[in-house]
Symmetry: none
Subunit: 220 residues, 4 copies
DNA sequence: GATGAATGAGGATTCATTCAT
DNA sequence: TATGAATGAATCCTCATTCAT
């Protein structure tokens, strides 16, 4: 029965026994796990109490480590927040890439984006994007974060514009319309409760239709 | 009948009219002016840099006074912020009262409220409502502020509901719809620039129609 | 019926009517009354909360005036305290002078002083002497106050010494004995309560005998 | 039998014995030493200048550290003072326990307590009990401190009472007598100078006899 | 990798005191 | 004489960050 599997286990054991240093890969993995844990705890506290009111001590305490230990994973408190923002934007971008992967009318894409973004807004990292004021960041970090936000915003605009061009969406003031849509769905990040009556999916589906209701060109 | 006594009374009245009251009134007026100036400077800095990043020193400096002088007008930094919130809410409520003053359908009222709220969102005190995270407040102050926010929200809900009842608005998920509308117009507070291409009025007019576009019952 | 009384009233009225300035004497008297009121309120607060924890604002508030008004009667907070000390010492000295006025043995005088000092310790100004730490004073003021305390202490010592000389008191370590006596009666200032079970007089009578019990030369 | 495994275990044990425990113990010890140093410096300054006039900066300066470093050892200035009080009370209680350890008449015990308490009054932490006004403490801290004072006072009362019961002390007004005794010896904390002519022991011996002179039942 | 200790910077708040009115 | 306003000084405390171990 035993065979390769056993051999591999043995090898692993020997390596472990032979050296107190875990294999390189494992160590990096472990490190990433811890980094992730810091971010999850941090973002949750930032949302709960605000960035400035959250001390690194509190973050560390919830992780059962000490404050300076955090500096093994992040260079500064600001870097932690920037990472939180980045993770939120990454989630958003992941969806956008999926949408871009297959050809569709602007309207369909816009609706898909709304649906996706609503789901992002139900995640801590997503809410971070709209609930933690980026004024707390230094100018360069703020610029970087805003650049990310602008990038996402541009897809809303692009999808709307291309929808008008391909005839799936009525002509309208693009800028104002995008603001209305993003405003409505950003707001989800403020009122959504995991234990509420609507799931992220339901909210997304509803808003996808409702927010584009008066934009869609009627199919005849 | 009259005589010396009267004369003395007259003299007193004149003196009273001329002097002891005016100074008092003037004093109070001057005080209120200064209080107002503090609030205007403060809210502007809060929006610019965030509440926690704004020190009372900065506020005082811009007013050409010293930090402790602020304590003549406010008991604490928190009280300053609470007043800013209150002023924003007051502006909103003033419009609501005007709307309530004359009878109208729910749809008309809702549109009027959107228009009005958009204008509020172009004012510093209005933007304060949506751009300064109320987590910086102590629990009791926060409760008070949130109560005010809820009050305003309720009118959106009321107008929408009564619109459905009076037939001017189509049946819909009230809660979600109100969130969409308020989200969209709260967002104005984030992107509006006084030197932008659209006036407050134009934004309000556009949103009043656009955000209710798919809700309005078509007149036949 | 009326007569002198009326005339006097008239005269008073005329003076008042004729000039807004009250007669000089009356003004000084009024001023002293107010000064006294300030001191009474102040000492009471000092005892209640400690000197440093008592702000002039509190003093003023209890008098229904404003803080700067106090500066009409005193040059500084310190002066207020110094006056309180002085009044306490004055009370003590008044008794001492009465004792010195009539010839008596050292023992009788010492007992009289104990009785008297116990009563002083039941007054606010008296308690001030032992309950308000004179460290709060500037060096010169402190020296002045301490000089006063030393003066009083010296009479305890003098009476004791002369009692030994005149044979009414047994020989003993004067310094230590005086410390024991003054310690015991100063302590009254800490525990005495006006609503307690013993009157100032009873405490004084008891201590006068008890504290000199082992000192008195038995009469045969 | 044994071999490499054993050797490794031994090595581990030695390391454990030699290093991880010692550092820990040493750390804690060092920490306690520093905490103690803070308290000694603090109490000395409190006595010298009064609590409110002593800034944490001064305390830190005398220790050659910076102000915030103090917060590694104490949570607040108040906690420092409370600890000072506690140490003083601890000294007093230690003596009381020694007295309680062996059976004796009330008179003997009372005299022993007086002797002991006099010595406590020559220590900074002891003087702190009577020279630092506890009004500077917050209500809860004050209650705690006063509870400690009451505890000690009770032993004076108990010893006196039991002395009356066992016939070693004459009947007397217990409350007033205890006040006289404690007043006299608390006062030691105010006038004692380390460089004075009497040692703590001499003062204690003298007071132990003198303050109970008129109370003791004559042995026949 | 993790810790305890220490630091420097900064901020809100209090308060005695002064001054123009 | 009394007041409102303003000030400057001082204090406690918090916190991100660093460093030796």
């Amino acid at each position: 029965m035993s065979g390769d599997a056993d051999k591999r286990a043995d090898a692993a054991e020997m390596k472990l026994a032979a050296s107190p240093w875990k294999p390189f890969e494992a160590r990096r993995r472990e490190r990433d796990v811890k980094r992730g844990a810091v971010l999850r705890v941090a973002v949750s506290l930032f949302l709960e109490q605000g960035y400035d009111r959250t001390s690194l001590n509190e973050v560390a305490e919830r992780l059962n480590i000490t404050k300076p230990a955090l500096y093994n994973y992040f260079r500064s408190k600001e870097e932690i927040l920037v990472e939180c923002y980045r993770l939120g934007q990454e989630k958003a971008m992941a969806g956008i890439e999926r949408i871009l992967a297959k050809p569709d009318t602007g309207l369909v894409r816009l609706r898909a984006l709304i649906r996706h973004y609503c789901e992002v807004m139900t995640l801590d990292f997503g809410q971070c994007l709209v609930r933690v004021d980026d004024h707390v960041l230094s100018a360069p970090a703020r610029d970087q974060v805003r650049e990310g936000k602008r990038l996402i915003d541009r897809y809303f605009r692009d999808f709307l514009t291309s929808g008008i061009e391909d005839g799936s969406i009525k002509s309208c003031d693009v800028r104002l319309t995008v603001f209305a849509i993003t405003g409505a769905i950003n707001w989800v990040g403020h009122w959504y409760r995991a234990d509420g009556e609507m799931t992220a999916r339901e909210i997304g589906d509803t808003y996808a239709m409702q927010l584009t209701g008066s934009l869609a060109v009627e199919k005849t």
